[in-house]
């Protein structure tokens, strides 16, 4: 097992709230399913970064940064949070104050990260101003179609399937950031990644908490298992 994955597990995965009723299930699926996916994704991230570094210039960083802009933008957050609110009638939404506060916090957070991202791009000289970023087609495309739009909502429509998606996929984001910080010695780009780290971890913790709290019966565990199988299948197919 790669030391970065081992460190992630020791810090954020194994520590468990005493008495959490779904935790035994979470640890079982982690060992049986998640570890495989996380190891593959981490190795892939490391290989991509090492390949970029070996090229001897920072064009690859510029390419990755521009391509990732849309993925870190406010629109992604709004899609994601809207998907979580869709199952609640408009007239009922005022009762879900936690959800609304979390949504407000999330939109604020995405604004902050988008702004930081644009500032790093400008400071590095990769774009002249934000207008240029808006005009860059590469900044507004993603390799996956509507990741948090309708095409991804249907496989994750069950709230515990969403939890599984958070637990599995956000861990990969955390590991990708850890890989970047481990290998890339650029203070500005590192600063940007560090800024995103707690955000990704928060979503991972949302998944961890929901599984620990609610996956107490076979019926509740099934959507989590199904989602993990789906995500693992996707990861293998894409390799």
């Amino acid at each position: 097992m790669h030391p970065l994955l081992e460190q992630f597990l020791e810090k954020w995965v194994w520590p468990t709230a005493p008495g959490a009723r779904g935790a035994a299930f979470r640890l079982r699926i982690t060992e049986e399913k998640c570890l495989k996916g996380w190891e593959i994704a981490l190795q892939r991230s490391l290989a991509e970064i090492e390949k970029g570094l070996a090229s001897g210039n920072d064009d690859w960083q510029r390419r990755v940064a521009l391509g990732g802009y849309a993925g870190e933008g406010v629109q992604m957050s709004i899609k994601q949070m809207s998907a979580q609110l869709l199952s609640v009638d408009l007239t009922e939404q005022e009762h879900y104050i936690d959800l609304q506060r979390m949504r407000a916090r999330q939109v604020w957070d995405e604004c902050k990260h988008s702004k930081l991202h644009a500032e790093v791009l400008m400071a590095k000289g990769w774009i002249k101003d934000e207008r240029e970023l808006l005009h860059n087609a590469a900044a507004h495309t993603q390799p996956l179609p509507a990741y948090f739009g309708l095409s991804m909502m249907f496989p994750h429509i069950h709230p515990l399937a969403r939890a599984a998606q958070h637990y599995f996929v956000e861990a990969i984001a955390c590991l990708g950031i850890a890989a970047y910080i481990h290998l890339v010695d650029d203070p500005m780009v590192r600063h940007e990644h560090l800024s995103q780290r707690d955000e990704e971890l928060m979503h991972f913790m949302e998944g961890k908490y929901k599984i620990d709290t609610y996956c107490t019966t076979l019926e509740n565990q099934k959507p989590v298992e199904d989602t993990l199988d789906f995500l693992l299948h996707r990861l293998r197919v894409s390799l």
């Binding site: 954020w12 005493p18 916090r105 955000e199 971890l201």
Partner: protein
Amino acid sequence: MPTLKINHERCTQCRMCYVACRELNLNAVHVALEPLHRLEIDPHKCTYPVCTVCLAYCPAEGSIVEAESGRWVVPPPADVHRWWLKKELSAFSR
């Protein structure tokens, strides 16, 4: 008994600690209206180290500390986190 407090330099106000503490009906984590509507821990309601639920779900390293010693407990160090579940699992698999 040691008590916990939030280090606002590190806390991201994500509310995971608030949600987890409320689930157990402890409600030791609350939103303090004064001065800045920030999350705070009520030392009279918090049962740490009997309960460590907030520490298990907090994503911001160093954001919850032992009030007396100032020691960071996120992520929970080994002496705070009792690894009870891992032990239970290994006993089960044997």
